[in-house]
Subunit: 324 residues, 2 copies
């Protein structure tokens, strides 16, 4: 069986073997640029791990893996415009390096290029593969719209937040695992369980990301700490703290996350006080555990011999924390 | 056989029967909004006319027709952002009525919804239909990028301009005709001729649009006259006049199309002088005739009895001028 490193290499080699060299170059250069920023290629790696787990043919599955990664990068290009983000992976975002119009249009072309990959799949699985990909693509758009809506709303319920991250983050991981199974002709019930495992994994992954932003070790986490607080992001921690706080602390939280007069250090300090008061660390760990619990159940139902399950399990635990 | 009016009604009814009512509504409302702006639905009408011409099943072809129209509207939403256009069909554009972020994301969702329609096609034609749709979608992006590039360039050759309108406008009409034949199981050679007929038709259609902007009757044309001149658009007329003018007139044209100091009436008047001097009306009519000539040749090669050809021929002549 292939490990994470080998699969990552396989994916990057496939991209490098067919760089986007269409004309006009202004349209296609941003696609090569964003792919060259690298990253862990979590979704295609997991997709191929599943194919491998079912002893499927990785060559056969590769177009789906590349398609999913192209889609993910398309969504990054457009999300970065919408979020007005200047930097991604330490480099200028596409709309910064070029301009917003080029970023819109290159993103569109990248979405079409994702579909192009799917068209390379063998005919018998073309329709089911496109069906789940299409459904997922719409859901990711819905998640992004919800995320934007939440920015301008004062009150967002925990339930709404969880639905948003399910759509924005978890379903694409679910779809990747499903597609990995589909290309390997895994049984239908396994496909459903792979999908749900991916969803639970994705939820745990995102909630852990929220947690580590505030309570993580910067060196291990790899991102700048307190980014969500600095950006006034209504993360799970914020919403849980808001839910559990008294009237006074809620007003304070609202003030901290809307005022432009408060210095960033003071803001972080004051926010942490309220987070700690509400014990949000404990509560976030608890909900992550719930998703691990659910992930475990779906994982255990997969009809694969235990020895073949290890690679995928280890990798998903690396991302989402200890599952079993 | 069905006429234009009946086919238009069929298409609009199909859209009305399944309005986009997903959540969050901010994502889907713009899709209903832009479709409700109406229009002639040229591409899906022609697609269904071809299906009908080959005695094909219109129900079977309908998803392709709707998919093509959804794609066209997606491209309008994104193009309007890029062109900073405030008005479409007398109503605010999507990014004006909502905001650019919503327009980006709703456009994305509309592109995915176009693919969703294609997935409803019968399995035997799914792959070839998606193949031409995908190729065409990329080409339309390329055409839009070229169009944007031309704005900031001083010199654009006629050849480059023709390639731009082929990509931005003509290929989608070619693809629509191809798909109409594909769903009706038309012979392979007819599919190629339908595609080329559509390309030539689309070229004539766009060049005629350029011509009528300056030399058309506003009441018949339906758009405000001199729109291209006012917007400094490097239309075929501009480029042909530039090509045929002496050094002095070229400088004058460049000045007219870049200066912000010249009043719009004076600008139109001065531009018309140079256009007339270069006889661009005659030259544009000549190139339109060339495309009619080419369209006619492809049309005549279609293996359909003459009586069944009339509806499509009349309709395309309505759009692109007299072909035969």
């Amino acid at each position: 069986m292939f490990d994470e490193r080998e699969l990552l290499k396989m994916i990057n080699r496939a991209f490098e073997a067919e760089p986007f060299n269409g004309q006009p170059s202004e349209l296609y250069e941003p696609l090569n640029y964003i792919l060259a920023l690298g990253g862990k290629r979590i979704r295609p790696v997991m997709l191929l791990m599943v194919t491998d787990m079912y002893c499927g043919n990785l060559r056969r599955a590769l177009p789906a893996a590349l398609g999913i990664e192209l889609f993910h990068n398309f969504s990054l290009i457009h999300d970065d415009i919408m979020d007005d983000a200047p930097i991604r992976r330490g480099k200028p975002t596409v709309h910064e390096k070029w301009n917003p119009n080029t970023a819109i249009l290159s993103g569109d072309a990248m979405l079409v290029k994702a579909y192009e990959q799917f068209l390379r799949l063998p005919e018998p699985i073309l329709k089911p593969a496109l069906a789940i990909f299409n459904k997922t693509a719409l859901e990711v758009c819905e998640g992004q719209q919800l995320d934007m809506n939440f920015e301008s709303r004062t009150e967002v319920s925990i339930e709404e937040y969880l639905e948003m991250i399910r759509l924005k983050t978890a379903v694409l991981i679910g779809a990747a695992l499903y597609l990995g199974g589909l290309t390997a002709n895994a049984p239908e019930s396994d496909l459903r369980n792979l999908y749900e495992f991916g969803i639970q994994n994705g939820m745990a992954f995102q909630l852990r990301d929220d947690l580590l932003d505030t309570y993580g070790d910067e060196k291990v986490f790899g991102k700048k700490q307190y980014g969500d607080i600095s950006a006034n992001k209504k993360s799970f921690l914020y919403l849980k703290a808001y839910e559990l706080s008294n009237h006074e602390s809620r007003l304070k939280l609202e003030e901290l996350f809307t005022s432009t007069d408060i210095g960033v250090n003071e803001k972080i300090e004051e926010t942490l006080k309220i987070f700690n008061q509400a014990e949000v660390k404990k509560h976030t760990e608890a909900i992550i555990r719930q998703h691990h619990e659910a992930a475990k159940q779906y994982f255990n139902m997969l009809t694969v011999e235990p020895a073949r399950k290890k690679v995928l399990l280890n990798y998903s635990e690396l991302l989402a924390g200890r599952i079993i």
